[in-house]
């Protein structure tokens, strides 16, 4: 057991817009040790980004309501002062956002923007070191260092994303939250980025939360996984547990695997999950997956299943409970 870095206890987040309440995150529990890599998987709208924003206490103040606790190094970030949070965000946690376009400042060159972050984290080092580090970081993300004198508008979307990643890495954070950091990138560049994150994690012991919908990335990079559906964690466990098809699984997880075309085998037809994830403003009774579930039973329509944990492998499904009893 490592040293605990992050503990999310019974987190719920509701957004209220025009009197409509969206239950974006529902009773989420998560733990992360120092240096550990957690993957959060789930389709659009599952509540992944909301959870991440909660960790940084960046949820919109007036429209988002939170319950539960998020402890970072023992401090409840949801109740921390803005001053404390600024310190945490500046020095301890970095986040790579899904949309890099909004996060770069258009009036500074990318070299200046990366350099500024490098300087903050290496106060005792000189100008030469900073310049060298900027070049290194740009090269790492596949952008020629001589382009550091250019402004963000000169770069393609993919390149801007790589620059954001470069800036986050320059912070040497304790926790890196990467929210779909490679979704818009090509696989060869994605491989470089993941390799960068991996060496950061190995060399500096950075813990990583990788939010993605790519199960391949999770298999390759993460130690453990949490699968989110309708704001809940419906299955979580060590990578060995989740990717072993002989283990019991939540039907949604089975559906996710059935939806991916296999590169290593020939599949004639995919077996998708029919239907769509429910609207968080009108979640179904009982299990939130039951309207799409091929194994739906009567109890699933009325009673929310309890999370059952066996050897740290969590599944929230009535059917899996039945199986275990049988």
């Amino acid at each position: 057991m490592g040293e605990k870095l992050l503990e999310i206890k019974d987190l719920s987040v509701r957004y209220t817009t025009d009197g409509v309440i969206a239950h974006a995150v529902n009773h989420v529990n998560l733990e992360l040790d120092k240096g550990e890599i957690l993957g959060i998987v789930g389709e659009t709208g599952a509540g992944k980004t909301t959870t991440a924003l909660g960790i940084l206490n960046l949820l919109p103040r007036y429209t988002a309501q939170t319950d539960g606790e998020i402890l970072f190094n023992g401090v409840n970030v949801l109740r921390a002062s803005e001053k404390e949070m600024q310190k945490i965000r500046g020095e301890h946690i970095s986040m790579i956002f899904q949309d890099p376009m909004t996060s770069l400042n258009p009036v500074y060159t990318v070299g200046d923007q990366i350099g500024r972050v490098v300087k903050i984290h290496n106060k005792e080092k000189g100008k030469e070191f900073v310049e060298q580090r900027v070049d290194e970081i740009l090269n790492l993300v596949g952008i020629p260092a001589e382009r550091k004198v250019e402004y963000p508008f000169n770069f393609s979307g993919g390149m801007k994303q790589r620059i954001m990643i470069a800036i986050a890495l320059a912070c040497n954070p304790e926790l890196l939250i990467a929210d779909e950091p490679t979704t818009a990138l090509d696989v060869t560049i994605q491989a470089q980025v993941i390799s960068m994150m991996r060496s950061l994690q190995r060399e500096l012991g950075t813990a990583v939360i990788l939010i993605t919908h790519d199960l391949g990335l999770v298999a390759n990079f993460c130690d453990k996984v949490a699968v989110m559906y309708s704001g809940e964690i419906i299955e979580s466990g060590a990578i060995e547990q989740i990717f072993d098809s002989t283990n019991p699984h939540h039907p949604y997880v089975v559906g996710l695997f059935g939806s991916i075309p296999k590169i290593t085998r020939k599949t004639k037809r995919l077996t998708p999950i029919e239907g769509l994830m429910p609207n968080p403003a009108s979640l179904p009774e009982g299990c939130k997956f039951h309207p799409r579930c091929p194994y739906c039973m009567d109890i699933c329509k009325t009673e929310e299943p309890e999370a059952v944990i066996v050897n740290d492998h969590l599944i929230k499904c009535h059917r899996c409970v039945r199986k275990e009893e049988a």
Partner: protein
């Protein structure tokens, strides 16, 4: 050209754009054929010219050089009338159909539009019946007829795009990243549907994507593009079993496979910078990133050579 099973034949196609810094070689001397009822997958990184090639094949933007033959007929430089006529047989599906449609139109108006432009139906009743038929085909609930596309999720929006493309009963569809923006569970629904339509309606696809597992799943043949040039083309299984061009190898190596045996596996990373497509230097476009580069690679343009039946590679080092 005598092969009557060939529906689309592209010969030495080039598409250059004028930019302030010089000529941008978006598509540079690309040749291939697509046989009737099959799918040619086109893969490559963003900016390598996939969309430009797709549009040039359909005559949506005129080629700089080269020829496109459709059913044996040269359609490279068509008049406006011929272009309109050809749209009955050739259609396109986009990554986000939303970007290519009028947001002020409702779902049924969007699907009806090509039918109206081509004046297919005389009566309103027949037109409506066809729109309903199309919505049912693509699995769009009729309650969405008068909905605006921005009110719908990505999966349903793509179903609109597909219904619209199918409206004129085309033979050939260029699918430009049609599932790239969708969640996997929705992506699988759309892919299954497109493959069913291919069987039922005898469609021929040019399927553009950057997702290699998707392209392997859907394609009979795969063409790998790098900065406007074809580096490798082979039947789908052959390409994945015997990737030969160093770029293809790097690409396949970089795919994260959702299996436990790939945990912690470090793919061979490509180093070096990407060559600019503006006034590119002569020789292989991949040379700057290629781990096996030699002098010969930068001196001569690489020709596609057939290294085994229907397997073509443009590399002077590999596949001899």
């Amino acid at each position: 050209m005598s092969d009557e099973r060939v529906l689309v034949k592209v010969e030495h196609l080039k598409k250059y754009f004028d930019t302030p810094r010089g000529k941008l070689h978006a598509v540079d001397d690309v040749s291939f054929e697509i046989r009737k009822g099959t799918t040619l997958g086109v893969v490559g990184e963003s900016g390598c010219g996939k969309s430009t090639l797709g549009r040039a094949v359909l005559g949506m933007n005129p080629a700089t050089e080269g020829h496109v033959r459709y059913n044996g007929k040269d359609i490279t430089h068509q008049s406006h009338r011929e272009f309109k006529e050809s749209r009955r047989q050739m259609q396109m599906i986009f990554q986000d159909p939303y970007s290519s449609i009028d947001p002020k139109k409702t779902v049924s108006e969007i699907i009806a539009e090509p039918l109206k432009i081509q004046k297919i139906y005389k009566s309103r009743k027949d037109l409506d019946a066809r729109v309903i038929e199309l919505m049912e085909m693509v699995g769009l609930d009729l309650i969405y007829m008068n909905t605006y596309p921005h009110e719908l999720d990505g999966g349903r929006r793509q179903r609109i795009g597909i219904a619209r493309a199918l409206a004129l009963k085309p033979e050939f569809i260029v699918c430009d990243e049609p599932v790239s923006a969708l969640d996997v569970s929705i992506q699988a629904q759309i892919l299954n549907m497109m493959m069913d339509f291919q069987d039922e309606l005898h469609l021929t696809y040019m399927f553009i994507t950057h997702d290699l597992s998707v392209v392997k799943h859907i394609s009979d043949e795969i063409m790998v593009l790098y900065l406007g040039t074809v580096v490798e083309r082979a039947p789908s299984d052959e390409l994945f079993e015997h990737p030969t061009h160093p770029y293809t190898k790097a690409l396949l190596d970089a795919i994260p496979v959702p299996e436990l045996s790939y945990h912690g596996v470090e793919p061979q990373l490509l180093k070096g910078e990407v060559t600019s497509p503006i006034n590119p230097p002569q020789g292989c476009r991949f040379a700057k990133r290629c781990p096996y580069v030699t002098k010969a690679c930068t001196e001569n343009m690489q020709e596609l050579r057939e290294i085994s039946p229907n397997h073509f590679v443009a590399c002077c080092q590999f596949g001899k």
